[in-house]
Amino acid sequence: MSMREETAHYVNPEAFNPAQAETLSPEQERYYQASQWQIMWWKFRRHRVAVWSGVILILFYLCVPFAELIAPYSPNERSNDHLYAPPQTLRLFHEGSFVGPFVYGSKASIDLETVRWVYAEDRQDVQPLRFFCSGSKYRFWGLFDARFHLVCPAEGGTLYLLGTDRLGRDVLSGLIYGARLSLTVGLVGVTISIVLGLFFGGIAGFFGGFIDSAIQRVIEILRSLPELPLWMALSAALPVTWSPVWIYLGITVILGLLDWPGLARAVRSKLMALREEEYAKAALLMGASPSRVIRKHLLPGFTSHIIASASLSIPAMILGETALSYLNLGLRRPAVSWGVLLNEAQDISVVVVYPWLMAPVVPIIVVVLAFNFLGDGLRDAADPYK
């Protein structure tokens, strides 16, 4: 070992730039002046699936205010000539020539052997769709009568893109109107759940001790109750005489009441973690009051987390409403929700013959998945400084 020569002394000929550690590029400059919401948005934007889920959800939610305009029919409008009509195919070419979007008319007859409606497509009856047109009458937002639709069937024709049910009501229009209740149930329910969760989680997290233990035990009891029977019991308690609007409110309150424990736990644990952060201690030692510490220093730190966990509990509420309505315990006609529509599909033999009655399942799956992806994306973006 003593054989080896001493290591050569090498000196880098270039000088060093002491400021190198503290100089910023313009992009960094931009990044460093961004608020937490901006950084979260940049981070969220990278989560492709979540962004697309967001776009899909926006499209779905457009049905909520404009259902009347988008749907070709009213949800409870019957056509006695088209009971259990199958979906009509949208076409562009008639006998090789372009005519624009149209459907063929159909003729109904009863198959006396199987006792079911059979519809034959009439290849000569071209029914071109009308756009921005005057169609069936509705009361816009219950305020005034109107006839304007984005799309209507041809004069005297029909447009059943997803078929009709046993009373000849258009399934597609039902879906569009149903979105109104099904999609808002989640939002209203989550709002109730956030208010309760913030309140109970907040006092549990901030005060700790006995209050915390008491709230934790209540949450544990609530979470140990089987969900579906509890919903059923509570929904059954809603008077049958209530109007659909009241039933709807009742259902959302029930869903919200049963959902808050999860959020309360999230709030509590986040608050407890943030309370231990040194910057919270720094504020206390500067003489800030506890309420100021919570408002100015803690709350901005976990609003994003609350939004993310809320967006993850919306699908549970949508599914809850669907389940209740499907079981005839939630909303009932004339109110229309996806669960109410699925109620038609309770009889397995009917579903076998008229499978399009299952159509509401598709938007439910899409919306629930989209909310889950969106929630994932939000959760990943929620802490911009990790």
Partner: protein, 630 residues
């Protein structure tokens, strides 16, 4: 023969913002049986180099040039590690077997779920095909090699049962079990107390001699370098600045960067007026500030500002669940008597668990004390801090400020610098919004930061800049007393010098009083006028810094000073004199210093103004200790 040759290595990171070069054309070699120190500040790329050698680079990093040749016997062909598949079997056969690593953080690098024996033996089973029984025997052998007090028992211990020093020993045993040719030690002692650091350094040296292995030591501490390294590689921003034998580099540093770094390290025995030279010096501008601060009635410097008398604090931890369980009491502060005089800087030195931070918290009234009293003199006579309330307490909060240890977690990441600095003013309802804005700009200038940074968020700043923001925030309310809780322990050496100089200048210009808590004796030696040494919740020695450092009387202070590695090849650590942590055990101190339960740690004046905890020398009247610390 060189065990490891890094030849023109470049590593790029692909991030959202584009490609960034972390390591740029780095070449050096590690000869057999020698220790090479890779020295650099945070972000210099030294860890990336160690990750490349271990084949542990993250996904987003690519080796864009150069080779890493590893050869552990004269016959074997060199292997280019950088070219191997990071997940492949060829690299796996080398990693943990021929090249081993020990990490900085012994608290998190051991699994809490497995016994020490299982974890250490795993590598032997994997790489050498040992049976479990053989592995266990080998593990016992290794634990003996790293001087575990009771190797047989440690085999079945879990990580949480061991202290930090023992965990690091276990990590070293784990790295050693396959008798690697190269050990990478990535800041192996940074997280440890200084007395334990010395033990671990000694251990690495001993093991190296016994196993004939090469060590690549990654560190930022020139004291460790001077004591351990044969060769030194100095790296800055991914480039090698200077490379050579330790003797050459310390005796004859050539590059401006190395010279600057060496000038920034605080050393013992600096001249009284000597200043550290930071790499990025800053100019505090205090003009506007001094005018406004002068409104307060001036008090004579040297009069007692804060007096702690007989302060005692016990922490009670309950074991067991909600159905009760036995209470376990830890004496965190035992009869602390201290005085901080107006205008001085009192250094409070001790290792982790010595109670120095608890003392600072007690002064801040962040925790309640069980016995004794803390009196603060606002200019109208001493007032008991514990009895303050309402407006008095708010006034106290204005006068007494804290500078936190961690500049990252003490600034709210969701507030701009402007909001952070005006927050204290808003809380105390000082001034109009315009006056606050002006004040905030003044504060920025005071700590040498560009007021244009006010719109930025804290995550955009380097550690040193953040710490300066923390200092500016502490100064916002014109305090007279500032507690500095290890304000530089999270910072690089060059930045540490900058912050220390800033604190010194501010103290002189604004007439501040500091209680400076630190585990780093050299730092305290540089900044403090007087120093109090703490151990296990007791003050063991108080005196003028110069007296204590040059003439330590208490055995603990002596051990502490003997364990500090100095950045000077002429003053190596005396490894033979280390006594395996006995110095921090009060019951093991020789008479008259021994303190056992129930004995008051009385301070006795051994020389003018120099007090030592020596119950055996105390006069029989216990009341004498009350005045002792004055």
């Amino acid at each position: 023969m060189d065990v490891l040759t890094v030849d023109g290595l470049s590593v790029d990171f692909t991030t959202q913002e584009g490609r960034a070069r972390a390591v740029d054309n780095v070449s050096f070699s590690v000869p057999r049986n020698r220790t090479v120190a890779l020295v650099g500040e945070s972000g210099s790329g030294k860890t990336v180099i160690s990750q490349t050698i271990m084949g542990l680079l993250p996904e987003k990093a690519q080796v864009s040039g150069g080779r890493v040749l590893f050869r552990d016997s004269d016959e074997a062909e060199p292997v280019d590690i950088a070219a191997l598949d990071r997940k492949g079997p060829a690299l796996r056969a080398i990693r943990g077997n021929r090249i081993a690593i020990i990490f900085q953080e012994p608290m998190t690098s051991l699994s809490p779920l497995h016994t020490i024996g299982d974890q250490i033996g795993e590598a032997a089973e994997l790489h050498r095909g040992c049976s479990p029984a053989e592995a266990r025997e080998l593990t016992r052998e290794m634990l003996r090699l790293v001087r575990f007090p009771d190797p047989a028992r440690a085999l079945d211990a879990y990580a949480f049962e061991l202290s930090g020093g023992l965990r690091q020993r276990a990590m070293i045993a784990m790295a050693m079990i396959c008798r690697p040719s190269l050990l990478i030690a990535d800041e192996p002692t940074t997280a440890l107390d200084v007395t334990i650091q010395a033990e671990i350094l000694k251990l690495i040296k001993d093991v190296q001699t016994e196993l004939h292995m090469s060590v690549l030591l990654i560190t930022h501490d020139f004291g460790v370098v001077a004591n351990m390294a044969d060769d030194v590689v100095v790296i800055y921003h991914g480039r090698i600045m200077e490379r050579g034998s330790a003797a050459d580099l310390f005796a004859n540093p050539q590059h401006a960067y190395l010279k600057a770094l060496l000038n920034a390290v605080p050393r013992f025995g600096m001249e009284a007026g000597e200043r550290l030279v930071p790499i990025r010096p800053i100019e505090p501008h205090a003009e506007g500030f001094l005018k406004k601060a002068s409104g307060r009635p001036a008090c004579a410097p040297g009069t007692p500002l804060v007096t702690l008398s007989g302060v005692t604090k016990r922490f009670t931890t309950r074991k067991g669940g909600m159905l009760g369980g036995s209470a376990h009491t830890v004496l965190a502060l035992d009869d602390i008597n201290l005085t901080v005089r107006r205008g001085e800087c009192l250094g409070l030195v001790g290792e982790s668990g010595s109670g120095k931070t608890t003392t600072a918290k007690a002064v801040l009234r962040a925790i309640e004390i069980d016995e004794g009293g803390i009196r603060y003199d606002c200019g109208k006579g001493p007032v008991d801090v514990a009895k303050m309330s309402g407006a008095d307490l708010l006034d106290y909060r204005k006068r007494v400020q804290l500078i936190f240890q961690d500049p990252f977690s003490s600034l709210n990441p969701r507030m701009t610098v402007n909001e952070l600095l005006s927050e204290p003013l808003v809380i105390h309802k000082i001034g109009t919004p315009e006056e606050r804005a002006e004040r905030v700009r003044e504060l920025m200038r005071l700590v040498g930061l560009d007021p244009r940074f006010l719109r930025r968020y804290p995550h955009s700043f380097s550690g040193g800049q953040r710490q300066r923001i923390g200092i500016a925030r502490a100064l916002a309310l014109n305090p007279e007393f500032i507690l500095c809780d290890e304000p530089t322990s999270a910072l690089d050496v060059s930045v540490q010098a900058q912050v220390l100089n800033l604190l010194k200048d501010l103290k002189a210009e604004l007439g501040l009083t500091y209680l400076f808590v630190s585990h780093n004796l050299a730092v305290v030696d540089y900044i403090a006028d007087r120093v109090a040494v703490m151990c296990r919740g007791r003050v063991v020695e108080v005196g003028a810094t110069r007296d204590v450092v040059q003439n330590p009387l208490h055995p603990y202070t002596q051990a502490l000073l003997a364990s500090v590695p100095e950045p000077d090849l002429g003053a190596p650590l005396d490894f033979a004199a280390l006594d395996a942590g006995r110095a921090s055990e009060p019951a093991e101190w020789p008479d008259p210093y021994r303190v056992v339960d129930g004995v008051r740690p009385v301070l006795v004046e051994m020389a003018p103004g120099h007090f030592v905890c020596a119950p055996g020398l105390a006069p029989s009247r216990p009341a004498a200790s009350m005045e002792a610390a004055q």
